[in-house]
Structures are given as structure tokens and as C-alpha cells.
Symmetry: C2
Subunit: 308 residues, 2 copies
């Protein structure tokens, strides 16, 4: 056990990410006590049953009053309202952070509500699963994953260092960049892939010539991987696309141009162009494995029977 980095951690919204932070923070001895809040009596009851917080309260105001680290883990679209709600109750010197998948809009929506007596350090742990809710969380979610901090200009350096130490203790690799650059990077590595996955799963479901049962049965050929992505939380993703509209539209425009080029190659039977593109993308996969963000083991959507 390390020496606790904070006395009291408040998690606003004990969902997949919030409950994972609580589990990881406790497992690592990162904080002395954990308080969490949810308006929903069912969610509060689940958190109590799971025993992952020291205190479970009904209002965000009560949750934050003694906290020296407050992490807002709610959909991006309601972060502004939560900031406004908690602002009068924040302890002087507290660090306020979040886990939103977009950052420029978070700075814009939360920043103005927060008093000068606290330190606002937005964060985005790049980790998750397609499951939601307090039961879906687990302590290892952030291990060897990236957590991007996007402190607005002028943020207290010590506050940034303390939050960075917290995420490092939870197993994450911390990177610091501007909110705007973060949004561009994530538009391509996360938002565009999700949009495409949501689209193709919808397209498949609307065919007249191929039944839904056939799509489900023969999904192992590639479609299955898209459905995993397209099963992510709808509210969270609606908010992300609305909040990161410009970067997503920019990436979509480029993607569409590239789809057109490949479509043309297929229509004209240009095998060389197809082969060249497919060879190039293979090298990128290799890079991801080398970067430690995936294993080379083949994935069949079930535990690997043959090599682990």
C-alpha cells in the first residue's frame, strides 16, 4: 500500500468508469476514503451492495463537500450542469476533474462555473468496455492504458502533478496535451470508429435480402467486432458527437474521400490499388502491437483456446 495521495475522493456518477476508479483507488490505497453520489436509488443500492465506496449519498453537493479530489464521471452533455451544482460546495484547494471523451467542450462547459479556490484539471482515461453501470467496473481497467490530462492555460502545476500521480498509481500512463489537440486525436482513434460501427450495424439490420438471423449467425467474418463497438452507451456517445462535432465532421470528410477511392478501385477491378492499400494497413496493426495497446493473439470473440 502506498501513502494515500488524497484524503477524500468524490466520484460523481458511479458508472463503468466511476466505479472502476473507486475500485482501483481503493486497491492501490490512493485515497483514505471514497464518497459517491447518484440520484438513482437503484444505483445507490447497487454501489452499497458492491461495497466499493465508504459513503453513498443522493446529492452531488453532499458528495463534494469534504473531498480534496472530485472526479465528475457523467455523460459529457451534463458536465456543465454538474459543475454549476457542485461549485458552491467545493472545498478550498480541491482538485476538480472529469473523465469525458471530449475536452474542449468540457473546459468550455465546466470551467466558468468553478470558483478560483479550486484547481480544474480535465482528464480523459482512454479505456472502457461496451458495458455500463456500477457492476461493469473493475480495478484493472486503467492498467497500461493512457490517461490524457488537458489543463487549461495557467493551471497550478502542483495540482496537475498530483492528479497525474493519482492516475499513475491506478496503472495509467499519463500524457498532457491541449484540449483542442486531444479532440482531434480522439476524433480519429475513437469517435470516427464508433460512428462507422454504429452505421454499419444499422445498415446490416435494414436489409431486405439478408435476414437479421443470417447477419447474427455469420458475424464471425468481421461484423462481430463492429457490433461490440456499436453496443457502447448511447447517451455517452450522443453527447460525444454533439460536443466534438467539428473534429468528427472533418474526419468523416476524409474518411468519405477514402471510401470513394476504394469503391472506385473495386468498380474498375483495380486489384493493384486494393492490394497496395491492404498491405499498408497491415503495417499499422504491427505498430499498435509494438506500442503495447494490443496483443498479437488472434481474437475470436471468445477466450483463446490455443495459446493462452
Amino acid at each position: 500500500m502506498s501513502k494515500p495521495l488524497f484524503d477524500t475522493l468524490a466520484i460523481i456518477g458511479p458508472g463503468l468508469i466511476g466505479s472502476s476508479i473507486m475500485r482501483a483507488a481503493r486497491a492501490q490505497g490512493a485515497v483514505r476514503s471514497i464518497v459517491t453520489s447518484s440520484r438513482s436509488p437503484e444505483t445507490r443500492a447497487r454501489v452499497v451492495a458492491l461495497g466499493i465506496a465508504d459513503k453513498v449519498v443522493a446529492t452531488n453537493a453532499e458528495a463534494v463537500q469534504d473531498a480534496d479530489l472530485v472526479i465528475v464521471c457523467v455523460p459529457v452533455g451534463v458536465c456543465g450542469a454538474v459543475a454549476q451544482e457542485i461549485a458552491p460546495h467545493l472545498k478550498t484547494g480541491a482538485i476538480v476533474s472529469d473523465v469525458g471523451s471530449v475536452k474542449a467542450s468540457i473546459v468550455r462547459d465546466m470551467g466558468p462555473h468553478l470558483p478560483d479556490t479550486v484547481h480544474f484539471v480535465p482528464a480523459h482515461p482512454v479505456a472502457g468496455t461496451e458495458h455500463s453501470g456500477p457492476d461493469a467496473g473493475f480495478a484493472e481497467l486503467f492498467e497500461n492504458r493512457w490517461c490524457i490530462l488537458t489543463p487549461p492555460e495557467g493551471t497550478d502545476k502542483e495540482a496537475v502533478d498530483r492528479l497525474s500521480a493519482f492516475w499513475t498509481l491506478l496503472g495509467a500512463n499519463v500524457e498532457i496535451m491541449t484540449p483542442e489537440h486531444h479532440d482531434l486525436v480522439l476524433a480519429v482513434t475513437s469517435h470516427l470508429p464508433h460512428l462507422i460501427a454504429y452505421t454499419i450495424v444499422g445498415t446490416a439490420d435494414e436489409l431486405e435480402t439478408v435476414t437479421r438471423s443470417e447477419v447474427l449467425k455469420f458475424s464471425a467474418g468481421g461484423f462481430r467486432d463492429f457490433t461490440r463497438i456499436a453496443a457502447s452507451d448511447p447517451t455517452m456517445w450522443r453527447d460525444i458527437f454533439l460536443a466534438n462535432k467539428d473534429a468528427v465532421l472533418e474526419m468523416l470528410g476524409r474518411f468519405n474521400e477514402d471510401v470513394s477511392a476504394l469503391t472506385k478501385a473495386i468498380r474498375h477491378g483495380d486489384g493493384d490499388a486494393l492490394f497496395e492499400q491492404f498491405t499498408r494497413t497491415r503495417a499499422i496493426r504491427r505498430g499498435i502491437i509494438d506500442a503495447g495497446q494490443d496483443t498479437p493473439d488472434a481474437d475470436f470473440g471468445r477466450p483463446h483456446g490455443h495459446d493462452d
Copy 2:
């Protein structure tokens, strides 16, 4: 060990699929002996070293001469040439099959070369990984996966039954459909997802504002799943898109319409339309898990530390 279903199995092309069939057939006692052929001395040496065939020969003609089951496991684009090459050497009464991911073009390319003294039963085991070559194969690849047989009209029913029994013994669930319907089903469950994955990985690699190193680092947010698909064998996929051009272009057209609709929803800030689409696709994911084609375990591109 079951009673062997065939005396001699010839595998033309001991790659991922071919070598997996050899391993599975031997593990299940499905055949008495296995012969395989490859023009490449390196590949032959690997197969000998792996010990997965009883005989390894340099020519396809020699491989098929004593075989009562011949399975052609080469890229779709060369199946016609292989059929022409082996035709004069096939044993009377032999069953000739393949493993191609498209079927109408296989029937068209291979069928006319094969003599009336053999039974031609095209097949497509819907299974695979992004790895290639004899070392990538494993005996469990077909377990609980689908194998689609597409016998041309007038094919001997007993031959279809025997091949069906073979694939069942290897662990697959067998389904029979027309080559044309197969190609439509696979266009949406496999070919379109691959094309999209190849595209988006290429798009990401060409950005000026986001570096390749950033794309690799932050790929866990969704992009990573696309790179796995986009790492599949380039020759195989070039041939598939050329051979199933019409069905792929049809599916691409529908996909593009759906991308446009979602793009418009983002541009106009229509959160309700996004939420509705994202909720619908979640139900489809549930159907795939119920259909046994995936597990509900979250996937992080690494062995699941928390629940298995």
C-alpha cells in the same frame, strides 16, 4: 477417435485455413492420411517441421492423385487455375471443395474445369484470424463456427452429406445455401466490414494534424478493433473484393446513405436521431451474443484479467 470419413485428404495450400483443416482432421480422426502441396520450398519445409501432414509434395497434381477429398485452400483469384491444373489427375468419385470467401465466382471459375467423374461441393468455413501461413493454423479454428456449403444445382446428395459430415466432425455447424445468397450475406457480415476497416486505418495514417505515434498510442478507444480486421491477408482480400464486386458495391451504397444520415444528424446537432440509432444497434449486439458467435466478456485486446 471416430471412424475416418475419407481415406486421403489433399489440402492444396497449407496456409491458415488449410493447415487448420489438417490439424483438425487429424485431431478428430476424420481421414486416414493427409497430403498437402505448395510450390514454395519454405512453406513445404515449415509444414514438414510442424508435422501436420503425412506427405508434403511440390505439385498440386501429385497431391490430388490418390485423394478422395480435395480441398483447395488458395486465394479466390487462383482457384480457377488450380482447378484446371488438378482436373486431369483427380480420382474418380473424389469430392472437390474449397474454402473461398466468395462462392458464385468460385462455381463459375472452378466448375467448368472439373470432370463429371468428381463431385464439386464449394464450401466456406466462416472462421479465420488476421494471421497467415501454416504456423498460424490450429485445430480448434472451426469449433462452433459456421461452414456454408453451396453445391451447384444437380450435385450428388451423398457427396454433400459426406462433406457436411466432415465439417461437422471438425466442430463446425453446417448450413447450405445458393452461391448467390451466400455472397450477399457475406458482403454485409464480412466484406463490407473489412473494406471499412481498411479504409479507416488508411485515413488515420494520412493525417497531418495527428501523428501516427498518437494514433497508435490512443487506439484503445475503438480504432484498435479496426486495425485487427485491417491486418488480414492482402492478396486474399483483393481477390474477394474483385470476385464479389456487385454485392459489395450494393452494400457500400447503402452504407454510404446511412453515413450521410448520421453525418447530417451530427451537423444539425440532432441528439435524438443519434440516440435512437445508437440504442438500436445495442440490441443487435445482444443478438450476436445470444447466437453464440461471441461472449459478453468485454475485450481490451488482451487476456481478460478480471473475470476469466
